[in-house]
């Protein structure tokens, strides 16, 4: 059984398909049709709802794509849908702002925008942030919602209207009461779902500690591990697979931990991009603008570092970064743990060093050193919420005018995320000069034979990878030369 709050109602559910999405549940089982299906792949935001979780005695409000989120993971949380916002009769300030600013035309994407605005509203209210919503904030919260009618200007204006100090003072959720209700749910014990369906027993497990998870998975290595689910759910909604045994890692305490030691950042594999962002950016400032372009807010609220690695996609954005940073994974199988450098993890297209029943428990990232720097580049068709055509991460240490240390992680250039070892060799111990860069450019063009696909041609990928090395050089040599069109003033 799982227990959660659907808006104001406490629900207890069991005996449902483990791969039932929240969107399907809302629309089909509950008749709550304010939440729309636009794509069923987490790319349009029409199905956005907000999840409130209790964290350190306060509520954290996060927008999610309900189309790619499985219901089982809601145990102990509050799910807020658009119907909740005007439950008292009057429109919520974010709804009123959308009306006032003419922010809806066909209206189909509107409830999703309203929920993303609500997450922004809650965030700014909790932070007592009374500055007007900036363009950047608007992009961060709203770029995961597609609108085909308005061109977005009135929606950004609605965000500004709704987050003025007067508007932020309008509606305050009774967070203490919700926290208490969620605490009461948690006190009743962990969740777990079993379904008997035509002789098949289906499970949605929610282990709460690492040992339990290791035990479950070792016993049933064919079960599917679910973290954020932003990729796994596509197997259900797009490929129509039925997942009968899901083990959800999001409730495992250790895997949600984020610890800073003297030398490393230890990040639990279930930590989301959003939660990891500030710790990572403190060490490596380039990570913040880079992560802001990874997926959308909804995806960053769900997707995890562990999932991005375990999924082993050649176009995931974090692996190149973590390769450049020399990250080390802690893997767990049964009672055994082992540590494995990330550059030994990816074997072939979607193939990893994980044994059956083995999983990523945490990621260890060396902390920043004052004499080295991290540079991140992502090139895609669209600025926001797009998958990289080419991703280049460079960890660089220059000593006495020559390259003392370099690690290049590349994405989109091969069947796996990869270190550009030959290119690194062409640069290591060489003077930091245009000639060296030219040699590196030649090397990187030779080192990789990328694919031509829907995102870019092989030629373009090679050229861009080489040109990004030039950008790297220019940026390190002359800070006055503008090289990036994004966040360009």
């Amino acid at each position: 059984m799982i227990r959660f709050l659907l808006n104001d109602d406490a629900l207890e559910l069991d005996n449902f398909d483990p791969d039932l999405t929240i969107l399907e549940f809302l629309r089909t089982n509950k008749g709550l049709t304010g939440t729309k299906e636009g794509c069923a792949s987490g790319d349009c935001g029409a199905c956005t709802a907000v999840i409130a979780t209790e964290e350190n005695g306060a509520l954290a409000y996060r927008s999610i794509n309900t189309c790619i989120t499985f219901l089982g993971g809601l145990h102990g949380k509050q799910l807020i849908t658009v119907e909740y916002l005007n439950r008292r009769g009057a429109l919520h300030p974010v709804q009123q702002a959308m009306v006032d600013q003419h922010g809806s035309q066909c209206g189909f994407c509107t409830p999703g925008f309203v929920m993303s605005l609500y997450a922004l509203y809650q965030h700014k209210q909790q932070k007592a942030d009374t500055r007007a919503c900036s363009r950047q904030e608007g992009e961060a919260y709203l770029a995961g919602n597609l609108c085909r009618c308005t061109g977005y200007r009135p929606i950004l204006d609605a965000a500004r209207q709704a987050t003025s100090p007067e508007q932020l003072a309008q509606i305050k959720e009774d967070e203490a009461a919700i926290c208490a209700r969620l605490a009461a749910i948690k006190a009743q014990g962990p969740g777990s779902v079993t379904r008997e369906d035509q002789g098949v027993t289906k499970h949605f497990h929610l282990p709460t500690n690492l040992d339990q998870l290791a035990q479950f998975y070792d016993a049933a290595p064919s079960a599917r591990l679910l973290a954020g689910g932003t990729d796994l759910a596509l197997e259900v909604t797009q490929q129509l697979k039925q997942l009968d045994n899901i083990i959800y890692v999001g409730a495992v305490d250790e895997m949600n931990a984020l610890t800073v030691t003297e030398d490393t950042l230890e990040i639990g594999a279930a930590v989301t991009y959003e939660r990891a962002m500030s710790a990572l950016s403190q060490e490596y400032p380039d990570i913040e603008p880079f992560l802001e372009r990874l997926g959308s807010m909804q995806v960053r609220n769900q997707g995890t570092l562990g999932g991005n690695i375990g999924n082993a996609s050649p176009i995931g954005d974090m692996p190149p970064v973590l390769l450049a940073l020399n990250a080390v994974l802690t893997l767990r199988k049964g009672e055994q743990s082992r540590r494995l450098p990330l550059d030994q993890f990816f074997l072939d297209y979607k193939k990893t060093a994980l044994q059956p029943g083995e999983f990523i428990a945490s990621i260890s990232i060396p902390r920043a050193r004052p004499d080295a720097s991290l540079h991140l580049y992502k090139v895609s068709k669209r600025l926001e919420d797009d998958i990289s055509a080419v991703c280049l991460a460079c960890y660089l240490k220059i000593e006495n005018g020559s390259v003392a240390e370099i690690r290049l992680g590349v994405g989109g250039m091969a069947a796996i995320p990869k270190r550009a070892m030959l290119t690194e060799q062409a640069m290591l111990q060489q003077p930091w000069t245009p000639d060296t860069i030219q040699a590196a450019q030649t090397a990187i063009m030779q080192e990789f034979s990328p694919l031509s696909d829907v995102r870019a041609s092989a030629d373009y990928r090679r050229k861009v990878a080489a040109n990004l090395l030039q950008r790297l050089y220019i940026e390190s040599a002359d800070g006055a030369v503008a090289t990036r069109v994004f966040h360009y003033a």
Binding site: C39, E83, L91, G107, T150, P154, N467
Partner: protein
């Protein structure tokens, strides 16, 4: 009394009201939102609350089934055998149909034949429907269709414009327009340029995918809820497919979650399939396409390859042009004849071509049948004109905006006689009247500080080795009217109930454009009541029959006039009643501020309606409108296809990264002509939305196919429409003030749905300007669209190497 009645005959009535309107009730009346005011979208409150009901939101009927189609994996193949046993046996499946199960017409081609509802023996695109199932859930239906066993003999597929041209494969015959003596003019021109431009297609990406719900009724009838821009055509096709008279079928369209042309013809197949499945199973059937099916199985904006041969003098004045527009139509005609025509009608954009030959080819390929999409070929045609202007500008070494100004159709006051009738004749021999573009260009150049910014950009580019900025100003002149003449008609139906509330119906459909709001404002204006007093109900074929699609930007022009006509009929009756009842003359009766004024007396509207009811006055009326003045003779390619032109100008500024091809639109300034606006907020919404959608078409939205004709960009994960991040930091939009439409349109407003889309061509020209700066503006960058970063980088490299080769 008889005299009075005669005086109140219909023509007089209409005249009287129009005059009164023009004088005293102009759309600037203060008070509640009537015409000319920023009324909110009529569903805005429901949209934000999640309470606006779309078809998929309707509570399921008892026993309702869910449909899905089985589709072809090949672009061109003969079907040798089809075994559906496993499909029939799949869990939850109750009904399976093939072409043999269709009682009536199998061909649902909207204008010309060629669109088989289900294919029997030959498939002509990847995704073409072969059979359909109805099952107990959407998921069950989707899983079941995958179980079909179909054998094919794969045939060679024609997939590109070039292949189709080579094989002379056309869905409709080519068409040509001529003005003057283009061959002579080109031969004698002191300068001549050949060029070409590839203009990629575009996926509609309406947020609500295609959906229909069919509910079986008595006597073989069917009640259809459809997300369609053309309910009457859905009615006709469902009736024909089921082999019943049209009067057994009712189609109901309350709202769509976006249409953009994608639901003009291509909403019909799913309604027809739902109806056949409902007929066979005897149950309600909902047919909803998953996003990937929708992207694969429905037509898109036509990809075009345009060629030009232009002659010009040393100043850059065009002396003659030979333009060919080649549209990739897909496997069937659909609306392609009219779409390629409209591309031809707009391949002059705003420029007088003096001597012109314009040829349009409708290329047949083994791909999904391309269809209407905002602009309807117009944008693609316009790209030929702008490509030509850009090429001339680089050749003569001038700012392209100077070439534009030089070649515009002349303003009225500048017009002087010329052998062919002046500098105001289009290649299809329509005179350009009320030509506002030269004036608008000069105004926008001043307002947007064009010259100073251009100078600043030159300075920036000189000092910035990697990033280059560009600025460009482009015009839009867009012809308003369906070019198929009979479509330019509309009907409306108004009831006033005894509490004074007004129920309004018209043939137009609401897809977000605010049509319902505008037409309600018009009726409010006529009766001088608050707009909240009016409910616009769903477009229904049993209320207003034989309607045209809501398309061609014509929704308000046509339906607004029809609704006004209905309102004026009822007003005439009310005035007549007032005259009888209170012994006054018609001039002493007027409507204002929710009151009916009769001589010295004033009655609240509801009270007067109550009186009229007691006096046995009919409070229900239909209205009708047909657009005057238009005609076009396709044999001679001449006439007046357009009632008027809507105009706009835009100036866009971009910055380009010459290392990666990445770019950003920094600022856009727009001045647009909507005549006398019926609702400035809605009009600005259309302009901004159209601009951003057009920008997507020309920049990030890339429809990709593989070598076997399979769509690669089949999901929003790999097909990228603009997000908030793509909104220019500065976006200034102004409605051109003080220029009411000189034609007798509804309150002298202008259509606004499509024209702003093409304002985005300024973004493409700005990218070219930035790239051209690498060669001190000597080389015209060969930048094809969509100008993804990859294409921009390719253009950067080609431009640089062309400069080397000079």
């Amino acid at each position: 009394m008889r005299d009075l009645l005669n005086k109140l005959g219909k023509p007089l009535e209409v005249k009287l009201d129009s005059a009164a309107l023009a004088q005293s009730q102009a759309p600037t009346t203060q008070g509640s939102p009537k015409a000319g005011r920023d009324a909110k979208h009529d569903s805005a409150h429901k949209h934000v609350a999640g309470a606006a009901q779309y078809i998929d939101d309707r509570f399921p009927h008892a026993g309702q089934l869910y449909g899905c189609v089985g589709k072809s994996p090949h672009a061109h193949a003969r079907v040798i055998s089809m075994n559906l046993d496993k499909v029939r046996a799949a869990p939850g499946v109750l009904c399976v149909i093939t072409a043999d199960d269709i009682p009536g017409h199998l061909d649902i081609g909207p204008v010309f034949p060629g669109d088989m509802l289900l294919v029997k023996d030959k498939v002509e695109f990847v995704g073409q429907p072969l059979f359909a199932v109805a099952a107990e859930s959407h998921a069950a239906a989707r899983r079941a269709v995958k179980l079909a066993e179909v054998e094919y003999e794969v045939l060679p597929a024609t997939l590109t414009i070039e292949d189709a041209l080579q094989q002379q494969l056309f869905v409709r015959p080519p068409h040509q327009m001529r003005l003057g003596e283009p061959e002579t003019a080109l031969a004698n021109a002191p300068n001549r340029l050949h060029g070409d431009i590839e203009v990629g297609g575009q996926e509609h990406f309406y947020l609500e995918g295609q959906i229909s719900l069919a509910i079986p009724e008595e006597d073989g009838g069917m009640h259809i809820f459809a997300s369609s821009q053309h309910p009457s055509e859905v009615q006709k096709l469902v009736a024909e497919v089921l082999d019943v008279p049209f009067n057994r079928i009712t189609v109901d369209v309350r709202r769509m979650g976006g249409g953009f042309g994608g639901k003009e013809t291509q909403a019909a197949p799913w309604a027809c399939l739902a109806a056949v499945l409902a007929r066979k199973s005897g149950r309600p059937v909902k047919f909803r396409l998953s996003r990937s099916d929708d992207m694969e199985m429905t037509g898109k904006r036509h990809h075009f390859h345009n060629l030009f041969d232009v002659g010009f003098d040393d100043e850059g004045r065009i002396l003659g042009a030979d333009i060919t527009v080649n549209g990739l139509c897909g496997y069937s005609p659909d609306l392609s004849d009219a779409i390629v025509d409209r591309a031809m009608f707009h391949s002059d954009n705003a420029y007088f071509l003096a001597n012109a030959s314009i040829t349009g080819n409708r290329c047949k390929t083994h791909t999904v049948s391309n269809t209407a999409f905002r602009g309807f070929g117009g944008p693609q045609g316009m790209m030929a004109a702008e490509a030509m202007i850009e090429a001339i500008a680089r050749r003569v070494g001038k700012d392209p905006v100077e070439i534009r100004l030089l070649n515009y159709y002349r303003e009225d006051h500048e017009r002087y006689d010329f052998k062919q009738g002046g500098y105001d004749v289009t290649p299809y021999h329509q005179k350009v009247e009320q030509n506002l573009i030269p004036l608008m260009t000069r105004k926008l150049m001043a307002d947007a500080d064009y010259h100073a910014r251009k100078a600043a950009i030159r300075a920036f580019n000189a000092s910035s080795p990697i990033l280059k900025k560009g600025l460009a100003l482009t015009p839009v002149k867009f012809g308003i009217s369906f070019t198929v003449q009979h479509l330019n008609q509309a009907g409306a139906l108004i009831h006033i109930y005894t509490d004074g509330s007004i129920h309004l119906n018209h043939g137009g459909t609401e897809m977000g454009q605010g049509l319902y709001t505008k037409v309600a404002q018009i009726v409010a204006q006529e009766f001088q009541v608050d707009v909240d007093n009016i409910v616009v109900s769903a477009a229904r074929t049993d209320k207003v029959p034989n309607t045209s699609p809501t398309a061609a930007s014509s929704g308000t022009d046509l339906n607004g006039k029809a609704a006004q006509n209905a309102a004026q009929t009822i007003k005439g009756r009310l005035i007549e009643f007032a005259c009888e009842q209170y012994q006054v003359t018609p001039e002493q009766v007027y409507f204002a501020d929710n009151n009916v004024h009769v001589g010295e007396k004033a009655f609240p509207f509801a009270e007067f309606i109550q009186q009229a009811y007691m006096g046995r006055v009919s409070l229900s009326a239909t209205g009708f409108y047909k657009t005057p003045k238009i005609h076009y003779d396709r044999d001679t390619a001449s006439g007046r296809p357009f009632f008027y032109f809507a105009n706009g100008v835009a100036a866009s500024e971009v910055v380009v990264d010459t290392l990666t091809g990445e770019y950003k639109v920094l600022r856009a300034d727009i001045l647009h002509d909507v005549g006398k606006s019926l609702n400035p907020a809605i009009d600005i919404g259309q302009i901004e939305g159209g601009f951003i959608q057009g920008m997507g078409w020309l920049t990030t939205e890339e429809v990709c196919w593989d070598a076997n004709g399979r769509l690669l960009s089949n999901s929003p994960a790999n097909y990228k429409i603009p997000t908030l991040g793509d909104l220019p930091e500065v976006l200034n939009v102004e409605l051109l003030p003080n220029e009411p439409n000189r034609e007798e349109t509804i309150y002298h407003s202008k259509a606004v749905g499509e024209p702003p889309f093409m304002l985005a061509i300024s973004v493409w020209c700005a990218l070219k300007d930035a790239i051209s700066s690498l060669t001190d503006y000597r080389i015209d960058p060969p930048l094809h669209t969509p100008s993804t970063p990859e294409k921009v980088l390719a253009a950067v490299e080609a431009t640089l190497s062309a400069a080397k080769g000079e």
